[in-house]
């Protein structure tokens, strides 16, 4: 009977792995969904500020023209595709765990992290291109909103990379002792990652296309 290789305090906490008889979910999944709820409110407030500043501005973007002319839409479309692909590889990583194939898990999780880096690199090019033209966040409120929203989203992508890398490297030790808990952790990391993709799905049209 292998005792959990987790922190002694965790061992005594019921429903860390097996679902709660009434709610039907283990603690961590409930916790991650609550965290995503607070993230929804965080991005909700940012979108609310975007809506308020934009409706108050005499014309948007302040310097005239269209946001799709100022921002590089093809590059952003590619970025959206990259993020969507990283979502599917994340699901496949979770599915590999479900099927007990730790090697396939490493492959798909590696792809997810790689695609996340590609996303950040594309963002880097977009940002530096704007900085060359002197369009810093202080230039006008269009860039302020653009940099703040995509910047905070980028930070969330970096957070996701850190968690996924942990799961890919040190985290897999848990696979040997308690594969079910490891699969749950991959699923929860996946929920967070899909949420980050979901935020970008709304961010992309509202900033670039409208």
């Amino acid at each position: 009977m292998s005792v959990h290789a987790v922190h002694p305090a965790d061992a005594a906490i019921p429903h860390t792995v097996e679902p709660h008889p009434v709610t039907g979910i283990p603690n961590p999944k409930f916790g991650i969904w609550l965290f995503l709820a607070s993230e929804v409110m965080l991005f909700g407030a940012l979108f609310s500020s975007y809506v308020l500043i934009r409706t108050q501005a005499p014309h948007w973007p302040p310097e005239g023209g269209l946001s799709s002319e100022i921002l590089n839409v093809p590059l952003a479309t590619l970025n959206t595709a990259v993020l969507i692909t990283s979502s599917i590889t994340m699901v496949l990583a979770w599915a590999s765990c479900k099927m007990g194939r730790i090697d396939r898990f490493r492959l798909w999780m590696g792809c997810t992290i790689g695609l996340a880096f590609v996303f950040l690199i594309i963002k880097y090019f977009e940002y530096t291109d704007k900085f060359h033209h002197g369009h810093f966040p202080a230039f006008n409120n269009f860039y302020a909103v653009y940099f703040t929203l995509t910047g905070l989203h980028g930070l969330h992508v970096i957070g996701g990379i850190i968690v996924n890398t942990f799961l890919l490297t040190i985290g897999t030790r848990l696979w040997k002792t308690d594969p079910e808990q490891f699969t749950n952790r991959v699923e929860n990391a996946g929920l967070y990652w899909h949420f980050v993709d979901l935020v970008w799905i709304f961010l992309f049209p509202s900033l670039y296309l409208l």
């Binding site: 969904w33 479900k98 296309l209």
Partner: protein, 108 residues
């Protein structure tokens, strides 16, 4: 040990589970197509309110697919839905009420 693991989920065995992978690929392709569509629509230069509604509908459909299939919200338990509905209500409050109040302000 791996086989028993698969049973805990609603799918019966790895082969059974593999059949369910198909839906993820379908959603993946659908998301890419919808992205292409929403970009395409933006080139039509529709008038402001129409462009917003179309883009929002497409984004909501995409988000619904990601949440429903990738995040398994379709088969999720009641307690998660309760939290999400509560959050959605307050999300709309924080999204719209500040703008309504400022819009109606009596500033000249």
């Amino acid at each position: 040990m791996a086989t028993r693991l698969a049973e805990t989920a609603e799918h019966s065995s790895p082969e059974e589970f593999k059949k369910h992978l198909g839906k993820y690929y379908v959603v993946f392709v659908a998301l890419l197509c919808l992205t292409a569509i929403t970009v395409g629509v933006s080139y039509l230069r529709l008038n402001r309110p129409l462009a917003i509604t179309v883009a929002l509908i497409i984004a909501t459909v995409k988000a619904g697919m990601v949440a429903g299939v990738f995040m398994h919200l379709i088969s999720e338990k009641k307690v998660i839905f309760a939290v999400l509905i509560l959050t959605a209500a307050f999300f709309l409050l924080v999204l719209l009420l500040p703008s309504f109040t400022t819009f109606e302000s009596s500033a000249v």
